[in-house]
Symmetry: C2
């Protein structure tokens, strides 16, 4: 995304576009690799020496609350973030930890069967198993 597109995207989600927020959102839009906080920080800090890791925590929490990004809990160690908010699932290799996108047909999305006492806002679908590389290496 261009800076202008990032601005627009943030404003659409009711997020004031500070320098840091724009940088983080642009990073996420260009790195659809489900990065951790640490990865984002390490990649951004060379060009923004005053950047604080706390800011990345604050910012991504804000993005998530405003539904501008997806937060993945598939990895028990770190929360991971996904700038692609379109409907898709994720696969985690239990051996090497790699996380892959998994396209989902509309018809494959499970409908909520929990009755009227619960009001879901988001659905997350995780597949866990082994990737080809790890099967071959064993």
């Amino acid at each position: 995304m261009s800076i202008q597109e990032v601005y627009h995207h943030l404003k659409e989600h009711d997020i004031k576009p500070s320098v840091q927020r724009v940088a983080i959102m642009q990073y996420l839009s260009e790195h659809l690799t489900h990065p951790t906080i640490d990865q984002i920080y390490n990649d951004l800090v060379p060009d923004m020496p005053t950047l604080s890791k706390t800011t990345i925590y604050n910012t991504l929490r804000l993005f998530y609350d405003k539904k501008a990004v997806i937060a993945l809990f598939i990895d028990e160690k770190n929360v991971r973030y996904d700038g692609d908010t379109s409907n898709h699932a994720h696969f985690k290799c239990k051996k090497c930890g790699a996380i892959y996108d998994v396209p989902l047909e509309e018809t494959d999305i499970p409908t909520f069967g929990g009755g009227s006492d619960l009001y879901p806002e988001e659905t997350q679908i995780y597949f866990l198993g082994t990737c080809k590389k790890c099967i071959q290496n064993q």
Copy 2:
């Protein structure tokens, strides 16, 4: 589950039934509340004073690897465990943190659309939103 049933269940999953393992599996079979390690420890330790929290970590990791329990990553703070390995989804209230079971029809289970490079072993479906109680209290 009775002790005998727990024994059988563990053996079926290729797990040697030590005293601790039987106690933990029996606890899980009787408390389908998605407890954390801490909750399990605090509930069991009065009757097993020498029980160590590390044992619970080790044991549940083993149960999970042997597919005798489900591990839930829906809560970013703690891993939670579910003795019910039948097919169902989970709902987490973002306000109060409560976790509910959600029945799933067979037809609602998403099929894996990721091609042949990934070999899934388990599928986890999480709904996140707000529960009735929290909507009323706000």
